[in-house]
């Protein structure tokens, strides 16, 4: 009886490992093909698209990319400016709003939190037309501020910060600071914000990546290619001039994916923990 169970156990483990390894391969394989093909020439790729042996056409592919519409550097720069600024805004104002919700007992507090919960799920792109017309009428299309400023009101950010603060808010410190005569705003900046570093880091990663990957609003608002963000640059690769430049397309994709790989694999521990934290409690 017992022996049978261990035999079953071993079979089970073999199945589980096989499935997990297959899924892991499924996650990585497309990107491996992408990186390998980025170093191969178009004739090589046409001959055999599936190869795990890198070739030596990396620099040639870079030359093909140069002078065409896809400009990795411009895309990177624009995405970096927009994502950094909007992340800073989201973090600071989400923390401030969450602080207001936790540290003070005001009349409309509960109503305000209910409101934040209610609008949290509503995606921005559904009101994209009104937003576009509004921005157009005040001349703010092709202006990064149109993509950055709205980040100051991020309901999901407030929700996340509040969840974190409920668990670890230093009410005693707040009292102590008051006794020492510290102004409330000063207390927030100097005492509360530093304590919230772990939550800010987690929220920061997600805000940054979300903003970096955004396609809809940038596509609507940014019409000049000098202002294109990375996803808009990627979108250009569907164009006819890239139809036969297989190697160059894979290279361009690699350039857009590598920064995310670096960020993800260096911070994966926090990211996975953050995803789990962001969910409701069972």
């Amino acid at each position: 009886m017992k022996k049978q169970r261990t035999a079953g156990h071993i079979i089970f483990q073999v199945v589980a490992y096989t499935v997990c390894i297959l899924l892991a391969v499924m996650s990585l394989f497309p990107f491996i093909i992408m990186i390998v093909n980025a170093t191969r020439s178009t004739p090589e790729i046409q001959g055999a698209t599936l190869s795990l042996i890198p070739s030596h056409y990396f620099m040639d592919n870079i030359k093909i990319l140069e002078g065409k519409s896809f400009n990795a550097w411009v895309g990177f720069k624009n995405s970096f400016i927009i994502s950094t600024c909007s992340t800073i805004l989201t973090l600071y104002f989400s923390a401030l709003t969450a602080h207001a919700l936790i540290a003070y007992n005001w009349k409309l507090r509960r109503a305000f939190f209910t409101f934040i919960m209610a609008v949290m799920m509503i995606p921005a792109q559904i009101t994209g037309i009104g937003f576009f017309q509004f921005m157009y009428s005040i001349g703010m299309t092709n202006n990064f501020l149109a993509l950055i400023l709205p980040a100051a009101a991020a309901p999901a950010g407030v929700f996340f910060m509040r969840q974190f603060m409920i668990a670890s808010f230093p009410l005693d410190l707040l009292e102590a600071a008051r006794i020492d005569g510290s102004h409330e705003f000063y207390t927030f900046n100097r005492i509360v914000l530093p304590i919230m570093k772990p939550a800010l880091a987690t929220q920061g990663i997600f805000s940054f990546v979300t903003s970096w990957n955004a396609l809809f609003m940038p596509m609507v608002l940014l019409t000049s290619s000098d202002n294109y963000t990375m996803p808009l640059m990627v979108n250009l690769l569907r164009g006819d001039i890239y139809k036969t430049e297989y190697g160059a397309v894979y290279l361009a994709l690699t350039l857009t994916v590598l920064p995310l790989f670096v960020v993800y694999f260096s911070l994966s521990k926090y990211i996975i923990a953050g995803v789990a934290l962001g969910s409701v409690k069972g």
């Binding site: 156990h9 589980a16 997990c20 899924l23 892991a24 499924m26 996650s27 990585l28 497309p30 093909i33 698209t49 599936l50 104002f93 401030l96 709003t97 207001a100 007992n105 005001w106 509960r110 305000f112 919960m117 209610a118 609008v119 799920m121 509503i122 921005a124 559904i126 009101t127 994209g128 009104g130 937003f131 509004f134 157009y136 709205p150 100051a152 009101a153 407030v158 008051r178 990957n213 396609l215 809809f216 609507v220 990375m230 996803p231 990627v234 979108n235 397309v249 994709l253 857009t256 994916v257 790989f261 993800y264 694999f265 996975i272 995803v275 789990a276 934290l277 969910s279 409701v280 069972g282």
Partner: protein, 329 residues
């Protein structure tokens, strides 16, 4: 009257600190929402034209949209692709959750597997769309190449020009990008279940199968509903992959999703802002209902209890105040 000791009230800072959020929200979120809703009742169209009049028949745009074949098709496509992606997604996520949280099967490398399964979720969807566009290319894409070499097919398949395979590829990409996320959410849900329930089951001699179906699953009900509804909202907004991969819903509108339809109505062709707004608002209503449902699910039961307890305390305080003459603030 006794002199009342009044402590400094800090409540006003609660209001002050919310001002930036509220102002930005009103300008960049609420106003565009109302504006979009209004545009649905107007004749707004044409690139660069921001003047409009209200229509004589206010619901004309909504009628047109509801009768529009492409819109209907886009809604059906969206649902089709979403279901095709969600069912395998939740099943696989559940299976992995059962494996990863089971105390009897000790899998090694869980951390690494989680990192790898979640990874596609963080990569730019536009890049993934182009990557799969290349992978499924005809005649020399890697997928065709592999299938030919393995002898499964004799000549290349035009995956991207066939209606059903185009839709299936999008559904697969969505599945591939999201099952890791769903799994992590479900695992954190299982970890949130009171461990004593599992202990009790163990003492009663329940097998791991029984434990999973009788204890884990019923306790995950709320979180699974949450996953379902949020995934539906996300699915209704499916834009990046179909837009970048197939641009205008090719082949033959098979990959035209509701969001792509709205985008193409408003920001391409004849720039029909009014009609696109009407379509947006229809989707908005569905999302509002769904998010209202999630909101109901997520409401903090502990807090409702706390609130009741707090009110009770206040009442008692008031009573005490009456008896002691209001010494307690």
């Amino acid at each position: 009257m006794k002199k009342r000791h009044k402590s400094i009230s800090y409540a006003r800072y609660g209001y002050y600190f919310c001002i930036p959020f509220v102002v930005v929200f009103l300008i960049f979120s609420l106003y565009p929402t109302i504006y979009t809703a209004l545009l649905g009742f107007t004749n707004s169209k044409g690139l660069g034209n921001i003047s409009w009049q209200f229509l004589d028949q206010p619901f004309r745009n909504f009628e047109v949209i509801l009768k529009n074949k492409s819109f209907k098709l886009s809604v059906i496509n969206t649902l089709h692709i979403w279901i095709l992606n969600f069912i395998p997604q939740i099943l696989l996520a559940l299976l992995l959750t059962a494996w990863f949280t089971s105390p009897s099967i000790k899998l090694r490398g869980k951390g690494l597997f989680k990192v790898l399964f979640y990874m596609p979720n963080i990569i730019t969807a536009a890049s993934i769309a182009i990557l799969f566009y290349s992978l499924f290319g005809y005649p020399t894409g890697p997928v065709n190449y592999a299938l030919e070499k393995l002898g499964i097919i004799n000549e290349g398949i035009q995956f991207l020009s066939l209606k059903s395979s185009a839709r299936n590829i999008i559904a697969f990409i969505q599945f591939w990008m999201w099952y890791g996320y769903t799994m992590i959410i479900l695992i954190s849900g299982v970890l949130g279940i009171n461990p004593q329930i599992f202990e009790a089951a163990d003492i009663d001699g329940a097998s791991s199968m029984q434990t999973f179906f009788r204890i884990t699953l019923p306790n995950l009900k709320t979180i699974m509903l949450y996953v379902l509804v949020t995934s539906m909202i996300g699915g209704l907004n499916m834009f990046d992959i179909p837009k970048v991969m197939f641009n205008n819903g090719a082949p033959d509108n098979a990959t035209l999703t509701a969001s792509v339809f709205i985008y193409n109505q408003a920001f391409a062709g004849s720039y029909m802002y009014a009609r696109a707004s009407a379509a947006s608002m229809l989707v908005f209503v569905v999302i509002a209902i769904l998010s209202g449902f999630t909101f109901f699910l997520m409401r903090d039961k502990d807090e409702v209890k706390e609130r009741k307890a707090f009110k009770k305390m206040q009442r008692q305080n008031r009573k005490v105040q009456k008896t002691t003459g209001g010494a307690i603030a």
